[in-house]
C-alpha cells in the first residue's frame, strides 16, 4: 500500500491538451473516484499513473518513489479494465496467476494467493473455465481477482462496471467497496456514473476539460459545488438553473428573474461586500423544490409538462419561462397536463454562480 501524488501533471496529444496542471494527493488506503464527462481526461490520468500513457510534464509518485517514467511493470499498480481484458485462451485460474508467474513467484505462493482471491471473490466454481464460458459479472470478478493477487501498492479501476446491466452493476459496486475496505489498498476509480462515484468514494475528484473542478467528500461536493459545472454534473436529476440578477433592497439581497423574485436567506447570502450582481445564476436541486398549493413569496409559477414516477419519488417537469425545471417530490397525484403549478423554493438551499461559473456562496454547507 502507498499514497499517490500527482504534481502539476500535464498531458498533450499532439496540439490538444487533455490534462492540465493536475495536482492531487491520494492518501494511503484511500479510495478516490475521478468523475467527469467523456473526454474530461479521467481515464488518461489513470493510464498515466499505470505507465500506459506518457506524461508530457509533471511528476507522479507512488509512495515516496517517483514513477513518472517507469515501465508499467515497475510501478506496482494493478488495473481493472472496462472490458475486463482477460486473456480469452487462458482459464480463470491462469488469468489470475499469470502476473505472478511472470514475476517468478514460487508456485506454492501463487496457489495460496489464487485460493485467497477465489475465496474473497467467490470464484472457486469458475476457476477452470475460460472467459468465454462466463457471464459479465463473473468475468469482472476474475479481473478483480487478477488485480488483488498481485498485492499491488495501488488499484486502478477504469470504468469497471460500465459493461454490466443495472442489477449486476449495483451488486458489483458493493463487492468493490467491500473488497477495497477488506484489503485496504489505495485505489483510484474512474467513472462517469454518479451513483458509483457518490457511493464508493472517500473523496471525489470532479474533472472537466482536463482540469480539476472540485475535490472533496461526495456529500460536500453535492451540497456545496464549487462551480456551476460541478453543480450541474453531480446530482440526478441535475440541479435546476435560473438566470437573473442580485439586487439590494434595504438590508436584504433579492434574486430577481423574469419568473422569480426571492429574498435570500441569511445563511445563503453571497459575499457581504456584494451589493448587486448583474448576471447571476441561481441553482436549486430538484429535491429542494416542492409543489405549492398557491403562489407565494418564495414560489415560482409554471406549467406542468410530465411526471416520471420512480416509486417513492416522482420527478415533475415544469416549464418556467421557456426553461424546464425538475422537482423531485414524494409520489402522489400529478397535476393535469399543461396545468398552472407553483413550485415552492427553500430559500435556505439556494446556490448562486457568477457569470464565470464560480460559486458565489461563502458558506457552502447547508444548514
Amino acid at each position: 500500500m502507498a499514497s499517490v501524488s500527482f504534481e502539476h501533471v500535464r498531458k498533450d496529444f499532439g496540439t490538444a491538451t487533455v490534462v492540465q496542471d493536475f495536482d492531487l494527493h491520494v492518501a494511503d488506503g484511500e479510495l478516490v473516484v475521478l468523475v467527469g464527462g467523456s473526454g474530461c481526461g479521467k481515464s488518461t490520468i489513470l493510464r498515466m499513473l499505470a505507465g500506459l500513457e506518457s506524461v508530457t510534464s509533471g511528476t507522479i509518485r507512488v509512495g515516496e518513489r517517483e514513477v513518472t517514467h517507469l515501465a508499467p511493470r515497475e510501478r506496482d499498480v494493478a488495473m481493472v479494465f472496462q472490458d475486463y481484458a482477460l486473456y480469452p485462451h487462458l482459464t480463470a485460474r491462469e488469468n489470475i496467476s499469470l502476473g505472478l508467474r511472470l514475476r517468478k513467484v514460487p508456485k506454492a505462493e501463487i496457489d495460496s494467493r489464487v485460493r485467497w482471491a477465489a475465496e474473497i471473490l467467490e470464484l472457486q466454481p469458475f476457476l477452470d473455465r475460460k472467459p468465454g464460458q462466463m457471464s459479465g459479472g463473473q468475468r469482472q470478478r476474475i479481473a478483480m481477482g487478477r488485480a488483488i493477487v498481485r498485492e499491488p501498492a495501488v488499484f486502478l479501476f477504469d470504468e469497471p462496471l460500465s459493461n454490466l446491466d443495472a442489477h449486476l452493476r449495483g451488486q458489483m459496486r458493493h463487492e468493490i467497496a467491500r473488497l477495497q475496505r477488506r484489503v485496504g489498498t489505495t485505489a483510484l476509480y474512474v467513472t462517469h456514473d454518479q451513483v458509483e462515484a457518490m457511493t464508493l468514494a472517500d473523496r471525489l475528484v470532479v474533472l472537466d476539460g482536463g482540469r480539476i473542478q472540485q475535490v472533496g467528500r461526495p456529500i460536500d461536493v453535492y451540497r456545496a459545488p464549487a462551480n456551476r459545472f460541478v453543480a450541474g454534473f453531480i446530482g440526478t436529476p441535475p440541479m435546476n438553473f435560473l438566470e437573473g440578477r442580485l439586487e439590494r433592497e434595504g438590508d436584504q439581497l433579492v434574486f430577481v428573474s423574469d419568473s422569480l423574485r426571492i429574498s435570500l436567506a441569511t445563511e445563503r447570502r453571497p459575499d457581504p461586500t456584494v451589493d448587486s450582481v448583474e448576471a447571476v445564476t441561481l441553482g436549486v436541486r430538484p429535491e429542494d423544490l416542492a409543489l405549492a398549493d398557491a403562489p407565494g413569496p418564495a414560489t415560482i409559477r409554471g406549467h406542468f409538462i410530465l411526471a416520471e414516477v420512480l416509486g417513492a419519488t416522482t420527478h415533475l417537469h415544469v416549464e418556467v419561462g421557456g426553461r424546464r425545471l425538475i422537482a423531485a417530490v414524494p409520489s402522489g397525484p400529478s397535476p393535469a397536463p399543461a396545468a398552472a403549478v407553483s413550485l415552492a423554493i427553500d430559500p435556505r438551499r439556494l446556490h448562486f454562480f457568477a457569470a464565470d461559473g464560480s460559486s458565489l456562496l461563502l458558506n457552502g454547507r447547508n444548514p
Partner: protein, 270 residues
C-alpha cells in the same frame, strides 16, 4: 426438385475439378498396359511406378529439401511477419505510416520484376547452390504482414495494457497474447506460404544446379523434361507428382478449419 437439380449441378462441377486429380492418382497404381485409359479402376494395382521413380532420381533427398525449405520459409514468414505486423498495428514510432504504405506498395511489384535483381544479389553473395538462396528471398512476405496487421488491429488495446501491467515485454505480448488469439489468420498465412514455397519451381531452377540441393517440384520438372514419353515413364512422372501434392493436401486437411475460419473472420474471400 429444384434443390435436387442444384445438387446435381454442384456434383458435376465437383467431378470436373476432381476427376483429373483422381485420374492422376489412379494412374500411378496402374501397370503400363492400362496407363492412358480413362478408367479410375485397375485389375492389377501396383507400386512399381513409385519404386521406379525412387530409383531413377534422388526424390527422397528432394522431398527432404522441399520440407526443409518450405518449413523454414513458413516459420520465418510467421515469426517475422507477425512481428512486423504487431509493430505496424500496435506500436507508435516515427515513420510507421510510411512503412505501412511501403508494405502495400511492395504487393504491387510483380515477382518477375525482381527476379533478375534478386538473382544478381544471390550471385554476388555467393549463395548460388545453397539453402540460403532458396530460403532468404521468401523469408519475409508483405501479404502476410498485411493480413496479420489487419487482425492485430482488432485486438482490444486493454488486452495489451493488461499484459504490460502483468509484466510482459512486446515480444512476449506478441507470442503469448496475440498468437493464441490469431490462430486462424496465422494458419491461413502458414498454409498459403507453405503451399507457395512448396510449389515454387522457377526460383530453384535459377539458383540451384546441384542435384542434391534440388527441391521436389524442381527435380520433378527436370525429371519430366528428360526420359521417354511411354506409358511407364508417364506413370512414373505422375507418381512423382503425387509425392509432391500429398504433403500439401495433408497440411490443408489438418488446418482447413482455421483456414476457413480465417477467411470468414478477415472478410477475405477466396
Amino acid at each position: 426438385m429444384r434443390r435436387a437439380a442444384f445438387y446435381v449441378v454442384l456434383a458435376l462441377a465437383a467431378v470436373t475439378f476432381l476427376y483429373p486429380f483422381l485420374w492422376m492418382a489412379a494412374t500411378t497404381f496402374k501397370p503400363p498396359a492400362e496407363v492412358g485409359g480413362l478408367s479410375l479402376l485397375t485389375d492389377q494395382p501396383t507400386l512399381d511406378n513409385y519404386r521406379l521413380m525412387w530409383t531413377r532420381a534422388p526424390f527422397g533427398r528432394a522431398l527432404f529439401n522441399s520440407l526443409l525449405v518450405a518449413t523454414t520459409i513458413t516459420l520465418s514468414v510467421l515469426v517475422f511477419g507477425s512481428a512486423a505486423a504487431y509493430a505496424l498495428a500496435r506500436l507508435s514510432f516515427p515513420g510507421r505510416r510510411t512503412l505501412n504504405v511501403v508494405t502495400v506498395a511492395v504487393l504491387l511489384i510483380p515477382a518477375q520484376l525482381t527476379l533478375i535483381p534478386t538473382y544478381t544479389l544471390i550471385v554476388q553473395l555467393g549463395w548460388v547452390d545453397s539453402y540460403a538462396a532458396l530460403i532468404a528471398p521468401y523469408a519475409f512476405n508483405a501479404t502476410a504482414i498485411l493480413i496479420l496487421r489487419q487482425f492485430f488491429l482488432q485486438v482490444p488495446r486493454s488486452l495489451m495494457d493488461s499484459a504490460r501491467l502483468d509484466g510482459m515485454g512486446e515480444l512476449r505480448i506478441l507470442f503469448t497474447v496475440f498468437w493464441p488469439l490469431a490462430k486462424a489468420p496465422l494458419a491461413m498465412v502458414g498454409i498459403l506460404t507453405f503451399m507457395g514455397a512448396w510449389n515454387e519451381v522457377l526460383w530453384p531452377l535459377l539458383v540451384v544446379r546441384e542435384e542434391q540441393l534440388m527441391t521436389l517440384p524442381q527435380l520433378l520438372t527436370v525429371f519430366s523434361l528428360g526420359g521417354g514419353a511411354g506409358p511407364r515413364q508417364l506413370a512414373t512422372k505422375l507418381a512423382a507428382a503425387m509425392v509432391l501434392v500429398v504433403p500439401v493436401v495433408a497440411a490443408y486437411t489438418f488446418l482447413q478449419r482455421f483456414f476457413i475460419e480465417s477467411l470468414a473472420s478477415t472478410g477475405i474471400k477466396g
